[in-house]
C-alpha cells in the first residue's frame, strides 16, 4: 500500500487524473459505439503531428529560459518557409521530380524553416539574455507581437501564386492555404498502412521519433551538457568556463528552429497552412503539453514530450467526437473542447507559476 501511494506521488496525481479521464473517454467512445480503430488512428496522428512542436520546449527549458512561449517565432518562420516553397512550386521548380515533387518540396520547406527560424531564434535569444529572470513573461509577449508583425508581412509578401494569395484582391496571403497541390500528407502517407480502419501515419511518426532521438543525442553530448549546466546553475557554468549567454542563445535557437520544423509537419498533416492569428495560442498548447507530461519549468526530458503530447492532444482527439456523439448540438461540443483544452493549459500554467517561486 505504501509502495502504491509512493508510486502515485512520484507519477503525480494530476497526471493520473488526466490519464484516467483519457481512458474513460475511450471507454465512453467504445460504449457509444464509435469506430474505435479510426479514433485511435486519429490519436496517433495528432500525437505525431504536434510532437515536434512540443519537443521544441526541451532545449529551451534545459538552457534555462524556461518553457518557450515564444515558439510562435519559430512557427511563423516555418510558415514563411512553406509559403516560399509554394511560390517555388508555382514557378515549376519541383516539376522535374515527377512523383517525388511533393516530398522534395516539403524537404526544402523544412530546410528553409530551419534556416529562417534559426536566424529569428538567435535574435530572440539575444533579446532574452537582456531580460533574465522574466523570460516567461517576455517570451509570451514576444510571441504575440511577432504574430502581429507577421500579419503585416503576410499582407505584403510579393507572391503571385493563386494557392496562396486572395483570388480577388490579387495580393496578400489567404488566412488558410490549401496544401492539396503542394505537400499535404506526404509524411503521413509515407510507408503508411491500414489495419481495418486504423491508419498508421508511419512517415510522420518516424520523423517525430527521429527528431526526439536527435534532441536526446544532443543532451548527451558535450555541448548539450554544457547547455543544461548553464541552465541549471549559471554560477557553476561560469566557474567551468562556460559562456552562459551563448548557451542560452543556443538553446533558444534550437527550440525556435524545432518550432519551424514542427509547424511544417503539422501543416502537412492538417492539409492547410494557417496564417495570421492562428499560431497565436499554439505556444500555450505546447507549453501545456510538456508540463502535463511531467516537465517543470526548469527540467524537461524527452519522455515528458512523448507522454505529454499523447495525453494532451490524444485527449482532445477523443473528446471532440465523443462530445459530438453525446451532445449532438454542434456548438456544445466545440465549447467543451475549448473548456478542456484551456483548462489543461490553465492548470499547467499555474503549475509552472508555482514551480517558478
Amino acid at each position: 500500500m505504501e509502495r502504491m501511494t509512493k508510486a502515485v506521488k512520484n507519477f503525480g496525481l494530476p497526471r493520473i487524473i488526466i490519464i484516467a479521464f483519457f481512458l474513460s473517454l475511450l471507454v465512453a467512445a467504445a460504449v457509444t459505439g464509435m469506430d474505435m480503430a479510426a479514433l485511435l488512428g486519429d490519436v496517433v496522428r495528432r500525437w505525431a503531428m504536434y510532437g515536434i512542436l512540443v519537443l521544441a520546449m526541451v532545449p529551451s527549458i534545459q538552457c534555462g529560459i524556461g518553457p518557450n512561449f515564444g515558439v510562435t517565432i519559430g512557427i511563423v518562420g516555418g510558415l514563411l518557409a512553406a509559403l516560399i516553397t509554394i511560390e517555388m512550386r508555382f514557378y515549376g521548380f519541383f516539376d522535374s521530380f515527377a512523383n517525388g515533387g511533393a516530398m522534395m518540396q516539403v524537404c526544402i520547406a523544412i530546410l528553409l524553416a530551419l534556416i529562417l527560424s534559426s536566424i529569428l531564434g538567435i535574435l530572440y535569444g539575444m533579446l532574452l539574455n537582456r531580460v533574465k529572470g522574466s523570460e516567461m513573461t517576455v517570451s509570451t509577449y514576444v510571441g504575440f507581437s511577432i504574430v502581429a508583425l507577421f500579419n503585416i508581412l503576410w499582407l505584403m509578401l510579393p507572391f503571385k501564386n493563386g494557392t496562396s494569395i486572395w483570388p480577388l484582391a490579387g495580393e496578400g496571403m489567404r488566412t488558410t492555404i490549401n496544401l492539396e497541390a503542394d505537400f499535404a500528407s506526404v509524411f503521413n502517407n509515407l510507408l503508411a498502412f491500414k489495419i481495418g480502419n486504423f491508419e498508421m501515419p508511419t512517415g510522420l511518426l518516424l520523423l517525430f521519433f527521429l527528431a526526439c532521438f536527435f534532441v536526446w543525442l544532443f543532451t548527451k553530448s558535450r555541448t548539450g551538457m554544457m547547455m543544461s549546466a548553464a541552465g541549471a546553475n549559471p554560477n557553476f557554468a561560469k566557474a567551468a568556463g562556460i559562456n552562459v549567454n551563448k548557451m542560452r542563445i543556443l538553446g533558444t535557437t534550437i527550440s525556435t528552429a524545432l518550432g519551424g520544423v514542427g509547424i511544417i509537419c503539422y501543416a502537412q498533416s492538417f492539409g492547410f497552412l494557417q496564417l495570421y492569428n492562428a499560431p497565436q495560442m499554439m505556444g500555450f498548447a505546447c507549453v501545456a503539453s510538456v508540463l502535463i507530461g511531467g516537465a517543470s519549468i526548469s527540467k524537461a526530458r524527452i519522455v515528458h514530450v512523448l507522454l505529454g503530447t499523447l495525453l494532451f492532444h490524444g485527449m482532445l482527439a477523443v473528446a471532440l467526437p465523443v462530445a459530438n456523439n453525446i451532445l449532438p448540438e454542434g456548438n456544445l461540443s466545440e465549447i467543451l473542447r475549448i473548456i478542456i483544452s484551456n483548462g489543461i493549459i490553465l492548470y499547467a500554467l499555474s503549475k509552472a507559476k508555482e514551480a517558478g517561486k
Binding site: 543525442l217 553530448s221 541549471a232 554560477n235 559562456n243
Partner: protein
C-alpha cells in the same frame, strides 16, 4: 523522577527509498543545555534535524516513524513555519537565505515588525507599515553580538559563504520566544577566533534557558561548550554521554568505529624548494563583494603546498575567485610562466588550474545531476575527456565515466548508493568530496582548494588531507589551500600566508608560534581601527 525536557525524539526512523538513514534514534534535550550531535558524514545528523524542523524533503520522501515531543506534547510539524511557531529555530547546514533580499530582510523575513497605520486599523494587520528602523536596529544588534561588522543593508546575493553563515546565525539569534535552537555545522567556514565568538554566544543563549542542539565536526568545540552528546553512526545511536565523562579520542572512536590516529604526520616537512614558479601574482586586485583583494604580490613554487588563511571578509577567499574569473580581477597573474587573461572565460582552467569552490552548492555542484556527471563535468568540457566522437557530435562515454566515478568514490570514501545518485541528495560532507573529485578529475598542474574540508568529518578529513599531500609529494602537484581552519593549514602546508585587509600581512612557516599567527590575522583589524 520525571525530568522536564525541552525536546524528546523517540524511536525515530527514516528511509530514503531503500536506504535506511535513521534507525530507532532517541534523544532528549533539557532546557538550557547544549547538546552535541556527532557523527560521520552521512550518519544522519542533518536528516534528524530536518525531521525536527518539519522540512518538506522529509514529507515528500515518505515521512518518518517515531515521535517528536516538545515540552511534553507530541508535535507533528508539516512545515518549518509550524516548527518556528512552536519556538524552534535552525541554522541550516546549507543556508536558507533569500539572495535578492538584504541582510536585514533575511534576518527578519516572516517576522517583520510593523507599525499600525490608518488602513491597518480598519482592514487588519496585513496592511500595517514595516518598521524599517526597528528592523535594521535589531539586525544590527544580532550581527554585533556575533562580531560581524558588515552593513545590514547589503544584499545577500554574492556574499561570501562566511558572511552567509553569519547572517543565517544572526537570523536565529534575533528570534524571541525561542525554546530550542539547532545549529547544523555553523562553524564549518569560520576561523577559530570567529568560532570562539559564536561558541560564547551559544553559551549565553543557553543561559537564558534555551536548549541548543549543536552539530559540528570540530570535536574541540564539543568539549568546549557542550553538556551532553549523542554519537550517530550509520543512522544508529552508538552512545549518549555527558561531556565530562569523555574525551576527544573516545568520541572520535565512537564516531568511526575504530581508532583515529593524528592528522597527517606532522614531523615530515618535506618542503624541497623548487626554483620553478607555479604561480606568480603581481599587484593583484579582486572586486569580490565582502572579500575584496586590494593588493597582493606572491610567488608560489612548483610542488609546494601553500596555505592562505585569515579571518572572514579579509580577502582570502577573493584570491581563488579572482584567479578563476568568478569576479572582476586586475593585475598580473602568471601560471607556469603563461600570462592569465582575465577577460577570457575559463582561462585558468585551460591553463591547468583546477579549483574547489568554498560555495559548493552555489558554484561547485549541479545538484540535480548524478555524482558521476558532476565528477567528470569539467574534465569533459575543458579537456574533452570521457567523450566518444560520433562524427558530428561528441557524446559522453558513459562507461568510462562510470569507471572513473567508481574509482573516485573509493579513493575519497564518498558515502552514496552508487555513482548515479543525485548529488543534491548526498549529505553535506559527501557533497564536498564530490567537489574535490571533480577538481582532481581535471588532473591539474595547480590545484586551488578553498575550504576543502568544509563539513567533512575527522576520518574523511585525514583521508583527504593525506591524499592531497600524496598528490603533491609524489606527483608534483602544486596546491594552494585556502582555509579558515588554521590547524588544518599548519598540518600540511609548507608556507602559510595570512591575508588581512585584502593584503598579505605575513607569510609564516607552519611551525611558527601561535602568537605570530594571531598577530598576522588581527593586523588589519588594528590598522583599520587606527585609520
Amino acid at each position: 523522577m520525571e525530568e522536564t525536557y525541552a525536546l524528546r525524539m523517540e524511536h525515530v526512523s527514516k528511509n530514503y527509498g531503500d536506504n535506511a538513514v535513521l534507525k530507532d534514534v532517541s534523544l532528549s534535550v533539557k532546557p538550557g543545555e547544549i547538546y552535541a550531535l556527532i557523527g560521520e558524514n552521512g550518519a544522519g545528523k542533518s536528516t534528524l534535524m530536518n525531521i525536527l524542523f518539519g522540512m518538506s524533503v522529509i514529507r515528500d520522501t515518505g515521512g518518518f516513524d517515531g515521535k517528536v515531543i516538545i515540552d511534553g506534547v507530541e508535535a507533528r510539524f508539516n512545515s518549518p513555519n509550524d516548527a518556528m511557531a512552536a519556538g524552534i529555530g535552525m541554522v541550516h547546514q546549507e543556508f536558507m537565505l533569500i539572495p535578492g533580499f538584504t541582510i536585514t530582510e533575511n534576518i527578519k523575513v516572516g517576522r517583520e515588525d510593523t507599525i499600525p497605520t490608518l488602513a491597518s486599523r480598519i482592514f487588519g494587520k496585513s496592511l500595517e507599515k514595516l518598521d524599517n528602523k526597528k528592523m535594521n536596529a535589531d539586525a544590527r544588534k544580532a550581527l554585533d553580538s556575533i562580531g560581524m561588522d558588515i552593513d545590514q543593508h547589503v544584499r545577500v546575493a554574492g556574499l561570501p559563504v562566511g558572511y552567509m553563515q553569519f547572517v543565517e546565525i544572526a537570523r536565529e539569534i534575533d528570534k524571541e520566544n525561542i525554546k530550542l535552537l539547532v545549529f547544523d555545522e555553523p562553524t564549518a567556514v569560520l576561523t577559530e577566533s570567529e568560532a570562539k565568538g559564536l561558541l560564547s554566544v551559544m553559551r549565553s543563549i543557553a543561559k537564558r534557558g534555551i536548549a541548543i542542539i549543536f552539530i559540528t565536526h570540530r570535536l574541540s568545540e564539543v568539549m568546549d561548550v557542550a553538556d551532553r552528546m549523542t554519537v550517530l553512526r550509520d543512522g544508529e545511536v552508538v552512545a549518549s554521554k555527558n561531556i565530562i565523562d569523555t574525551d576527544i579520542p573516545e568520541i572520535a572512536e565512537l564516531m568511526v568505529g575504530r581508532r583515529i590516529e593524528k592528522l597527517v604526520d606532522e614531523n615530515e616537512t618535506h618542503y624541497t624548494h623548487s626554483d620553478e614558479i607555479a604561480l606568480k601574482i603581481r599587484d593583484f586586485q579582486v572586486d569580490m563583494p565582502g572579500e575584496t583583494v586590494n593588493h597582493i604580490d606572491l610567488d608560489i613554487h612548483k610542488g609546494e603546498i601553500f596555505g592562505i588563511g585569515g579571518l572572514a571578509g579579509q580577502g582570502k577567499v577573493g584570491i581563488p575567485n579572482g584567479i578563476m574569473g568568478m569576479f572582476p580581477a586586475y593585475g598580473e597573474v602568471e601560471i607556469f610562466g603563461e600570462k592569465l587573461q582575465f577577460s577570457k572565460l575559463g582561462d585558468a582552467l585551460h591553463k591547468g588550474v583546477a579549483c574547489v569552490s568554498e560555495d559548493r552548492r552555489g558554484v561547485g555542484l549541479l545538484l540535480d545531476e548524478s555524482i558521476e556527471n558532476n565528477i567528470i563535468f569539467n574534465a569533459m568540457t575543458i579537456k574533452r575527456e570521457y567523450l566518444t566522437g560520433l562524427g558530428f557530435a561528441h557524446l559522453v562515454n558513459a562507461k568510462k565515466v562510470r569507471a572513473f566515478a567508481k574509482e573516485m568514490i573509493k579513493t575519497l570514501d564518498i558515502r552514496c548508493t552508487g555513482p548515479q545518485q543525485r548529488v543534491g541528495s548526498l549529505s553535506g560532507g559527501n557533497q564536498q568530496k564530490v567537489c574535490l573529485a571533480s577538481a582532481l578529475a581535471l588532473n591539474p598542474r595547480l590545484l586551488i582548494v578553498s575550504e576543502p574540508t568544509r563539513g567533512i568529518d575527522i576520518g574523511a578529513k585525514k583521508l583527504i588531507l593525506e591524499h592531497l599531500v600524496d598528490l603533491c609529494r609524489n606527483h608534483g602537484l602544486t596546491i594552494i589551500m585556502v582555509s579558515s581552519e588554521l590547524g588544518e593549514l599548519r598540518s600540511i602546508c609548507d608556507r602559510i600566508a595570512i591575508v588581512a585587509g585584502g593584503e598579505i600581512s605575513s607569510i609564516l612557516a607552519p611551525d611558527a608560534p601561535d602568537v605570530e599567527f594571531g598577530l598576522a590575522m588581527s593586523a588589519a583589524r588594528v590598522s583599520q581601527e587606527v585609520s
